[in-house]
């Protein structure tokens, strides 16, 4: 069983909701990423979304744009992420890892090569922001045959018809984008989210996880009431940005941000 499915089935038995942190790999420098991942797990992460830095992150707000710039300045490449995951797997064989990013770096190294490397490194899922299911014909089977979950986004603007297609193609979990906008934008409206998640429940058994606009324990707890998982990115990446000159302090800060959310969600 894929680690993502395993993790969600455990959470379901325990009656808990998933906490899913996102960080951009290589930010502020590649040597810190694996340490940050372990710190996130210690603070209660159930799944880790590891961002692949890209020169043109069109769906991201300024916080993650700058994280990409810092990571790229340090020369972080997709193949370096594979090494990071391998290193992480030496001591953590259970926490699922999802690579999240844009298509071009994958297109450049080749779909099959990417799928091979990701599978052998110990990646569990792939979320390509600018690749809707309609464009995933070619890469889909390559991921599936290696037990890599293809995770897709659903947005507030997604029609029911499209949502059904996405549910049919999606694996691992569905990533519901809580608001119209880029990452790190305004705070979400939990009632609005609940309203949009309801029809999705009728279409799929996939866990429904919500991202965009989750800043603190209070918003995380609110979302956890209606969703199966809470995804937090910019709130963590902000801490990395603020302390980029004192990188040894970052892991501790990430832990405290995430632990606050964990506590609020589990209360």
């Amino acid at each position: 069983m894929n680690r993502i499915d395993q993790r969600f089935s455990e959470l379901k038995q325990q009656g808990r909701k998933a906490l899913i942190p996102y960080i951009t790999a290589g930010d502020p420098a590649p040597q810190y990423t694996v340490g940050f991942m372990h710190a996130l797990v210690e603070a209660g992460a159930d799944v880790i979304e590891l961002g692949v830095p890209f020169s043109d992150p069109m769906a991201d707000g300024p916080v993650i744009q700058k994280a990409c710039e810092r990571a790229l300045k340090q020369g972080t490449r997709l193949i370096d992420l594979m090494q990071m995951v391998k290193e992480f797997r030496q001591t953590d064989t259970t926490t699922p890892i999802v690579l999240m990013g844009y298509l071009n770096p994958i297109e450049r190294i080749g779909y099959e090569n990417f799928a091979d490397q990701a599978a052998s490194a110990g990646v569990d899922g792939v979320l390509i922001v600018d690749m809707p299911p309609e464009e995933a014909d070619e890469i889909g089977p390559l991921l599936k045959s290696r037990d890599l979950a293809a995770i897709f986004l659903v947005a507030p603007t997604t029609s029911n018809e499209r949502a059904a297609t996405i549910c049919a193609h999606g694996e691992g979990y569905l990533y519901y984008v809580s608001l119209k906008g880029v990452t790190g934008a305004a705070t979400l409206n939990a009632d609005d989210v609940a309203e949009h998640l309801a029809p999705l429940r009728g279409m799929t058994d996939l866990p429904l996880c919500v991202g965009f606009g989750i800043r603190d324990g209070a918003t995380a707890a609110e979302v956890a009431k209606v969703a199966d998982g809470v995804i937090v990115g910019s709130a963590l990446v902000n801490r990395i940005a603020e302390s980029q000159d004192a990188p040894e302090t970052i892991a501790g800060q990430l832990k405290s941000v995430l632990a606050e959310m964990r506590t609020a969600m589990d209360a």
Binding site: D56, M58, L72, R108, I166, G181
Partner: protein, 413 residues
């Protein structure tokens, strides 16, 4: 003898007229690579456009605006003196520089503004490089009373101060983009971020034949008036079709506009001229096709895309802000692969020479973008006979570039 079930194509390249397919693909290129939030808006735009594409009332409204607001048809001008001095083929200039707002860009913004009106959205956004598309967007917004925000790379805001001020006079807000390389691609990133946030009330007027489906299709269609006129004018003025067409290619809208109506005319050779910058061999250029850049995905479509081995999009270099883009429209990518068009590059030095030569010999000051096409005409014409004919798309006028050229000449105002 058996009869084939499917009729043979009319010409070698007939298949190209059936592109894109229903999902916006031009062979392996094109498509709709966007984050989910935009999918709905693109589906809506596609439905709206396909329902109006063959609607006679919509076409009549478009044609009326092109005739009475833009000033079409634009002339096909025989550059006799320049042709004679080059000592080869006769060069004819398709005078898109004479359009209202000074370039072919307005053909597309008129069309998309009509679509914006149909969708009832009160606000338009646009990205711009040299500022011509921004000016054309601000112009149609002023005319329709729509709010207009134009994203422009901070570097280009510096290079194209005159057009920035023109947009502001027209009532548009020009938003300098400081991220990335601070040029056209970054302006497009920022416009996409705006659109994803304000998709309910905003119509995004993309300025070239790139972006997610249906943009490459509709921008091509709106610019194809250039080629339809040029074809008719060639028959009238030359008495036959030209031997060759030349147009500059950044994203490639003026080139597709000219080329598309000739695609099945096998005997008409076509040349797309990309920005060679310091020279394709130096790596400092903006010529993804001529340099055989790898296949990639950016801004919603798959195409030839300048990127490094890790898939990060490369910096580009060109004297002309309008061509300073690492990708190219997906239909051009296909046309390169099937061999319908030859894609070449002209470097900055050759472009400046062509700019000066046309200005002095014909009294026509071309945009630096269009001067790329002229630079290739200088190479091609002498290899042809005087009874052969080349149509060059003079896609825009050079007024906006006077400061750039003056700076190179060491002149300050």
């Amino acid at each position: 003898m058996t009869v084939s079930a499917t009729p043979a194509p009319k010409t070698k390249f007939s298949d190209l007229t059936r592109m894109p397919d229903a999902r916006g693909h031009f062979g392996p290129y094109g498509g709709r690579f966007v984050s989910e939030t935009l999918s709905f808006a693109l589906e809506e735009l596609e439905k709206t456009y396909l329902s109006l594409r063959d609607d006679p009332d919509f076409q009549a409204e478009f044609d009326y605006d092109l005739a009475h607001y833009v000033g079409r048809p634009s002339p096909l001008y025989h550059a006799k003196r320049w042709s004679a001095s080059l000592g080869g083929a006769q060069i004819w200039l398709k005078r898109e520089d004479l359009n209202h707002t000074g370039a072919h860009k307005v053909n597309n913004t008129i069309g998309q503004a009509l679509l914006a009106k149909k969708t009832g959205k009160p606000r338009i956004i646009a990205e711009t490089g040299a500022g011509q598309h921004g000016v054309a967007s601000a112009t149609v917004a002023a005319r329709l009373g729509l709010e207009c925000d134009v994203y422009m790379g901070a570097e280009d805001v510096q290079r194209q101060k005159l057009n920035v001020y023109r947009m502001r006079l027209l009532g548009a807000r020009v938003i300098p983009v400081e991220s990335g390389t601070r040029t056209l691609k970054d302006a497009m990133n920022e416009a996409l971020r705006d659109w994803v946030t304000n998709v309910d009330n905003t119509f995004y007027i993309i300025g070239t034949v790139a972006g997610p489906h249906p943009y490459p299709l509709l921008v091509r269609d709106f610019n194809a008036v250039v080629g339809r006129e040029a074809r008719r004018q060639s028959l009238e003025q030359i008495g036959r079709l030209p031997d060759a067409l030349i147009a500059c290619v950044g994203g490639g809208s003026n080139a597709l506009g000219l080329f598309y109506p000739f695609v099945e005319d096998d005997d008409v050779a076509m040349y797309g001229v990309e920005a060679g910058g310091d020279g394709v061999e130096t790596g400092r250029h903006a010529a993804p096709l001529a340099s055989n850049a790898p296949r990639g995905v950016l801004h919603g479509n798959r195409t030839y895309l300048m990127s490094d081995e890790a898939g990060q999009v490369s910096d580009t270099h060109s004297i002309s802000a309008g061509l300073d883009y690492p990708g190219v429209g997906p239909e051009h990518a296909l046309w390169k692969d099937v061999g319908r068009v030859s894609y070449v590059a002209a470097n900055d030095k050759e472009v400046l020479e062509a700019f000066r030569e046309l200005t002095r010999m014909e009294g026509i000051m071309p945009a630096l973008e269009s001067a790329h096409a002229l630079a290739h005409a200088k190479v091609l014409a002498p290899t042809m006979r005087p009874d052969q004919h080349i149509v060059v798309n003079l896609s825009g006028r050079g007024d906006k570039d006077i400061m750039t050229v003056a700076k190179i000449d060491g002149i300050e105002f």
